[in-house]
């Protein structure tokens, strides 16, 4: 029942939220729903974690051979947990932000959450596709209705981009469906489907482009900085904290094990592309003058490493990807919370207009430094474990590639410290002179994230254990 609840609770409470007119009621309702989801997700990992509770199967579209099969494996648990942790933190930290038509705003947020849950849970490809779109469409409305000045053009690009990807994937799904012996969309059937070499390569790219856009991987990334900049921050947090993981998740569940031969064939190309993207995005991040765009490019660089580690097909690297999917979500949400706190207080995101905030907001400064250090993957923060394992995996694939990719950890230090310095250090100016300490809801959420960062950085082993089976399954499918 756990997986069903994970989808149903945000879905139903989201639909109800459309009818809530009162601001406070809408916020309270959304927060309540997200907390319940969080509790269930935790219960699914620590209390009701027997297989019987974690899998559910029912008839859905019998005529098409598609079933409502959902389940939680280790990777699903980690990502559902991320999805469930992210929402309450986002709701509380942006509690003061005002939206027109709040009921609809929170309804769409919850529907997005439901869609992403479905993506992480689906064991049936049509179901997966359905939830993929269910997550995308509310996100599109969130950006286009509540975003910044250039929201229409930017969201349009975002939508077209990801939609083109989705269509390519749909073609691939249908083709595979016809290739399964008993015309089924089941994950198992897809894993066993027999394809010729050419078919594999062709199908591989159909799926890969869809996922590469979502992640995003260079050069499919240009929608992302624009969208992150223009979307309302709460939606940006969802997009970069959780939704980006849909792409990585999908590669691990629906691409690599389904097309092992093509994966082998194209892995080197994709790893090189990913590494170029890491360095390219890191360099651009160094020159950014806008907090949000800097975080966006930094995020592209980090995702590039995950992609490279996936295609290196090595166990420690894959374990690193698993834990890093969670960690990246936590860290990037932390960075957005600070960006939002600064923008809503001072009305600017430009480094050139900021400076000296550490004198005015020392607590915010300390918490931000923790987030930034996690972003540089300093040891004893969560990201170190993930990056250490991913680089280790990449090293076993190819020494030189990991050395070149490793340059990004130097560049990460440059842009992350730039960010700290330009926002918080130095003398105050006329604008930052009026700044005050961040509100307590922001402080508390950042403090919770900081604790998570340190705890997972010191003792990552339980989380690594959780995903070990998934990694073995993926590697078994490839071999």
């Amino acid at each position: 029942m756990i997986p069903v609840l994970l989808i149903l609770i945000p879905l139903i409470s989201g639909l109800i939220s459309f009818f809530i007119k009162d601001v406070k009621a809408a916020k309270g309702w959304a927060l309540l729903s997200s907390l319940v989801t969080f509790a269930i997700s935790v219960a699914g990992i620590w209390i009701y974690n027997q297989p019987a509770n974690l899998h559910y199967d029912a008839a859905w579209l019998p005529a098409l051979g598609s079933r409502f099969t959902i389940g939680l494996d280790g990777m699903g648990q980690i990502l559902c947990l991320l999805n469930a942790v992210a929402m309450p933190i986002i709701f509380v930290s942006t509690y003061r932000n005002m939206y027109q038509n709040p009921g609809a705003f929170y309804a769409l947020m919850l529907l997005t959450q439901a869609g992403m849950m479905g993506v992480f849970l689906a064991y049936d490809c049509l179901l997966f596709y359905f939830f993929w779109e269910l997550a995308l469409i509310p996100a599109y409305f969130l950006c286009s209705q509540w975003g910044g000045e250039k929201r229409i053009a930017v969201t349009f690009k975002f939508f077209i981009y990801t939609f083109v990807g989705s269509l390519l994937m749909l073609i691939g799904i249908l083709y595979l469906y016809y290739k399964t012996p008993d015309e089924s969309f089941a994950l198992k059937a897809f894993y066993n489907v027999v394809l010729t070499g050419n078919e594999q390569s062709f199908m591989f790219w159909l799926f890969f482009i869809a996922f590469a856009i979502k992640m995003p991987i260079f050069p499919f990334h240009t929608w992302q900085p624009d969208t992150y900049e223009q979307a309302p921050t709460a939606a940006t947090m969802v997009l970069s904290g959780v939704m980006v993981k849909m792409g990585i998740f999908a590669v691990l569940r629906w691409l690599v094990p389904v097309f092992p031969a093509a994966t082998e064939q194209f892995s080197q190309l994709i790893i090189i592309l990913s590494i170029i993207g890491m360095l390219y995005a890191s360099l651009i991040a160094i020159r950014q003058d806008d907090i949000k765009r800097l975080i966006a490019y930094s995020s592209i660089a980090h995702i590039g490493l995950m992609s490279a580690a996936i295609f290196a097909q090595e166990k420690t690297g894959l374990q690193g990807v698993m834990i890093q999917m969670f960690n990246h979500g936590i860290n990037v949400i932390g960075l957005w919370i600070v960006a939002d706190a600064i923008e809503s207080k001072l009305g600017t995101r430009k480094f050139s207009q900021l400076g000296g905030l550490a004198q005015k907001a020392p607590v915010l400064a300390i918490l931000f430094v923790v987030m930034a250090l996690a972003n540089v993957a300093l040891p004893l923060t969560n990201a170190f474990v993930g990056e250490f394992l991913m680089f280790n995996g990449l090293f076993r694939y190819n020494i030189w590639m990991s050395a070149v990719a490793g340059i990004s950890i130097i560049l990460a230090a440059v842009y992350s410290l730039n960010m700290i310095q330009k926002i918080f250090f130095g003398e105050t100016n006329a604008l930052t002179e009026q700044a005050t300490e961040a509100r307590s809801n922001v402080q508390w959420m950042l403090a919770i994230l900081a604790v998570v960062i340190i705890v997972l950085g010191v003792y990552p082993q339980p989380m690594l254990r959780l995903t070990e089976d998934t990694v073995n399954t993926i590697l078994a499918a490839v071999k």
């Binding site: 990334h221 360099l283 651009i284 020159r287 020392p362 394992l389 990991s402 050395a403 130095g426």
Partner: protein
Amino acid sequence: MNNLILLVPLLPFIGFLVNGLFRKSLSKTMTGVIGSGVILAAFAISIYLFLQVRSGGAIPTSVYFDFINIDKLNVQFAFQVDQLSSLFLLIITGIGFLIHLYSTAYMHEEKPEHFARYFAYLNLFVFSMLLLVMGANFVIMFIGWEGVGLCSYLLIGFWFKNTNYNYAAKKAFVMNRIGDLGFLLAIFWIIAKLGTSNYADVFASVKSFTPAELTGITMLLFVGAMGKSAQIPLYTWLPDAMAGPTPVSALIHAATMVTAGIYMIARSNIMYTIAPFTSHFVAIIGLATAIFAATIALKQNDIKKVLAYSTVSQLGYMFLGLGVGAYTGAVFHVMTHAFFKALLFLGAGSVIHAMHHEQDIRNMGGLKKYMPITHITFLLGCLAIAGVPPFSGFFSKDEILVGAYNENPLYYYIGLAGALMTAFYMFRLYALTFLGKFRGTHEQQHHLHESPSAITFPLIVLAILSVFGGLLGIPALFAENAHSLEKWLDPIFAGSHEYTTAHHLEHSTEWMMMGVSTLLIVVIIVFAWRSFSRKERFEENKGFGKVLENKWYVDELYDNIIVKPLNGLAGFFKDVFEKNIVDGAVNGVGRLVQYSSRQVRLLQNGQVGSYILVMVLSLIVIVLLFREQTVIVSALRKIF
């Protein structure tokens, strides 16, 4: 025992948490007591552990929990207290404590909140360094390794309002990170080969590495050491690190941070011994750094800058020692250097404190009569670093130089030239600061005073250590079996001895070398003393002097060949490539779609007749294409 060992790093960490979290409510006295107290307690435990090791040999590895455990890769959170690490524990916590104590007076002008922040960082620094030396595998060492990098960043930029200080802090962190990447790759290499990074396992199976692998790994580890221990080409951050409060400089230069690279190589000595290429490389880099930094120190006028370059130079000697296989000598020099460099920096801090933050030695002079304790202790420090017998620096430096002579006499001569320069710039510094007439303003002169006892007490302790510390390593030349440090460290370096043949110089040669070098050093000291003790006017440097004053323009060089091109490339990516090429292509596709849809739209002319025509034509095409697909045919049959 495990818990006691854990307490050593845990105590400073608790100090960090308490001072960090309650910095607004704690009084300065409380902060000082907590901050220094935890280090003193850690020192006490370190002494106990040291005695344990002395009586019972290395303590078995203490394992706390699995940090990362995936199949073949098992990284444990484990500590190892043996002869090498227990010695470093004493240096770190002992000197660390004196620096903490000193800081309670030195930083007293700060607001309570910042005072507590300072002590929190200082505690964290000691904690990281302890992790570094106590870890039982390379990963834990790396955790401490990056940790000290972070703490140096926080402390160099402690006065965060000053933008230049922030740049210095960032430079330190980034340069360290370059080295860290090398270290990280070396760890991956070891893990890929052995599946573990535990010292015991790695050193036991060094023979399973091919020579090429071993050279690669040791070179990469050394890249890490270059960054952390400020060797050519990654040394430029250390002199800039002067931006931090002076006791922090003492901590970075003496007790923590820069000695990490020496520790790392001493720890993995067996790998270096059987990788001769790397060892030669280490020796040459060390020697080059020793000389290069010494030339720069000749012309610096900032009291802390002189000391900073002298540290870079002395670290070079230590690497020279490691490179020629004089491992004991290198560790010995770490220890004596920790004594006299902490002393000199704290002495400089005492001077700066008295001079109201004046650091230019051209504006000092004659401080001897105002600050007797600072003066005497500083003089002893100078004698120690210059290598005058029987002060501590003489013994350790001599041991390294003898080792260098055995490897290659040329190393010895170059090393000796560096030692002479050391004597010169140190006594130039001493004479300009303490002798002659006071050259500062009247106001400064009016306020000149000896520092309080929290400052002078550490100076006195360190002076005693600087004077007598050398007696721990009396060479065989003077007395057989009197080198207690060598005996102490023997278990650590025993593995390497198998591969090296012990050279023994003729005693007469050794006496002569020692006599000549001592004589030359004394001559140089007298020369420097006489030339600078009455100096009143300072001409601007010209020609080569100017090059030295400007540090050979290395910062400018790096700026022009690395920083600016990278920045330019980044700018090109951001403003041109990303906008026009990557996004341009995407928008191009978009425009193409728009264009074609505009063309297609012409078909929608609103005339029913033409629609039907198109529909029928399409149906015919479909039927022709898919005539075997019964589904479509039957569907069409149903429609028509």
